[in-house]
């Protein structure tokens, strides 16, 4: 028996399993290898267990660093992500002279620097327009979700228009997300004001501070003093991750589906109601589905454009 060789083989299987084109045949070959020897199984499980933790901890690392004031690493990481993903951002010209427009495709992620030094980070399937002049700083979130790091400038408030809401700040870090007619604002630092876009509307203006999440829909505005943890979770897409905490599968699948053209489909209500937790790569719904298969014994069938999960 050669532990070194078996461990190497186990590691190769695990690495190969993360391939996009992992097939039922591959799975069959892996199962055969696992069944061939108890030592294979044990070496594989050991690495699988540790490797899953490496993934989780790396996610934690970003969150921990970002919530403290150690700015360099996350900044460098964010810059790297920006550089990588900028390819996915389409810049349109031919708009009014002082307007910039950016958008990301499904699964895209990119950063747009503004003329005042502020920056906007775009999540999946997002379109943003920005107008920064001497007199004003305005951004329109036409769809999707974006994270803002706003340079402090008392003379020029920074306004984000999202659906029927208007979010006003001086200098701070926060994200805004649109889901249909719902607007969600999560504040990482500083203070923001969320108000109706039309002052005539009934809903009152709300002031949200660090750790707060505002949910606005129609005439109602719900402010929850969540926690910096929950805000960090709401922002985990910036690291390419989705974080769930006692989230129903229905909600989790909807989240994944925002990031991918291959959709997760839940076949029955019982499955949809299962609650899960954890941190997952937003671009890897397939891995998430397989994990459900492994962890909950759910039935997972992969098609070209959808993955059906059932009891």
């Amino acid at each position: 028996m050669n532990a070194e060789r078996i461990e190497q083989q186990a590691a190769e299987w695990l690495a190969r399993r993360e391939r996009a084109d992992w097939s039922a045949d591959d799975q069959g070959a892996l199962d055969a290898w696992l069944d061939a020897d108890t030592a294979h199984k044990l070496a594989y499980w050991r690495l699988e267990h540790g490797w899953a933790k490496v993934g989780r901890l790396a996610a934690l690392r970003g969150a921990v660093a970002a919530s403290r004031s150690r700015r360099w690493r996350p900044a460098a990481i964010a810059a790297a992500i920006g550089a990588i993903a900028l390819a996915g951002v389409v810049l349109f010209i031919g708009l009014p002279r002082d307007q910039q427009r950016y958008e990301t495709p499904v699964g895209g992620h990119g950063t747009m620097p503004l003329a005042d030094g502020s920056r906007v980070e775009l999540s999946t399937d997002t379109r943003v327009r920005a107008a920064v002049t001497e007199a004003r700083r305005e951004v329109w979130l036409d769809r999707g979700e974006a994270y803002f790091e706003v340079q402090h400038d008392r003379s020029r408030p920074f306004v984000v228009w999202a659906g029927d809401r208007k979010v006003t700040v001086l200098g701070t870090k926060f994200s805004v997300r649109r889901d249909g007619d719902q607007v969600r604002v999560a504040v990482l630092e500083g203070r923001v004001q969320v108000a109706p876009a039309k002052p005539a509307d009934d809903a009152d203006a709300q002031i949200a501070v660090r750790g707060d999440i505002v949910l606005a829909k129609g005439a109602s505005t719900l402010l929850s003093s969540a926690s910096t943890d929950q805000v960090a979770r709401a922002l985990s897409w910036r690291r390419g991750m989705l974080t769930f905490d006692r989230t129903t599968l229905a909600e989790a699948a909807a989240e994944f589906n925002r990031y991918s053209t291959t959709k997760l489909v839940l076949d029955d209500e019982e499955t949809a109601a299962i609650r899960i937790g954890g941190t997952f790569q937003s671009d890897n719904a397939v891995a998430f589905a397989r994990l459900l298969g492994d962890a909950y014994g759910l039935h997972v069938v992969e098609h070209d454009d959808e993955i059906v999960i059932s009891r």
Partner: protein, 190 residues
């Protein structure tokens, strides 16, 4: 299949966290460093097979007793090993006394270990792991970004994975394993 899942869960929960202590225990009682990994794996197999007959009520003493018995068996089978070794092993104090209390690593400690592990990886290997696990790029995207083949990405992933899992489990990897690529080919003595 359900039985196997239950055994797997038991193994990951009860046995794997003991790995650092188990490795130290074997290393302290076995002179040939090159055989430590093999011994540990053989011990795991024995534990698993015994557990599939009947789950031990008290996994800790069971794990160390199995390791002790296995070392004695191995030493007896190997004709060149001196009888002193066998005698030493048989004279080991009650295993619980030689073993430090179990340490369930907190998330923070685990994080620390993974970071420490990352520091020791070769530069390219580390870059691959960071792009994959921190920035969440797929293998394909990582390959494109680094301008290397998918195969190269998998090789780096494989190497990094083995090393990080070692660190995560708190194994003090002996210095001879440091240059990851040469380790296999070289004599394990320092």
């Amino acid at each position: 299949m359900a039985e196997r899942d239950a055994l797997k869960a038991w193994f990951l929960r009860e046995v794997l966290p003991l790995e650092p202590a188990l490795t130290r225990f074997i290393r302290r009682n076995w002179s040939n460093e090159a055989e430590i990994a093999d011994l540990r794996q053989e011990v795991y197999v024995r534990i698993y097979e015994a557990a599939s007959e009947r789950l031990p009520l008290n996994p800790r003493p069971f794990v160390f007793a199995t390791a002790r018995n296995h070392m004695i068996d191995r030493a007896r089978r190997a004709s060149i090993v001196s009888f002193d070794l066998v005698a030493d092993l048989e004279g080991l104090p009650f295993v619980e006394e030689v073993v430090t209390p179990p340490q369930v690593a907190s998330a923070r400690e685990e994080l620390h270990r993974v970071r420490a592990g990352l520091e020791t990886l070769p530069r390219r290997c580390r870059q691959v792991i960071e792009l994959r696990k921190i920035h969440g790029l797929s293998q394909k995207e990582t390959a494109e970004r680094m301008g290397v083949s998918l195969k190269a990405i998998e090789d780096h992933t494989t190497r990094g994975m083995r090393r990080l899992v070692d660190f995560l489990l708190g194994n003090e990897a002996p210095p001879t394993r440091r240059p990851a690529r040469d380790a296999a080919g070289k004599e394990a003595g320092r």
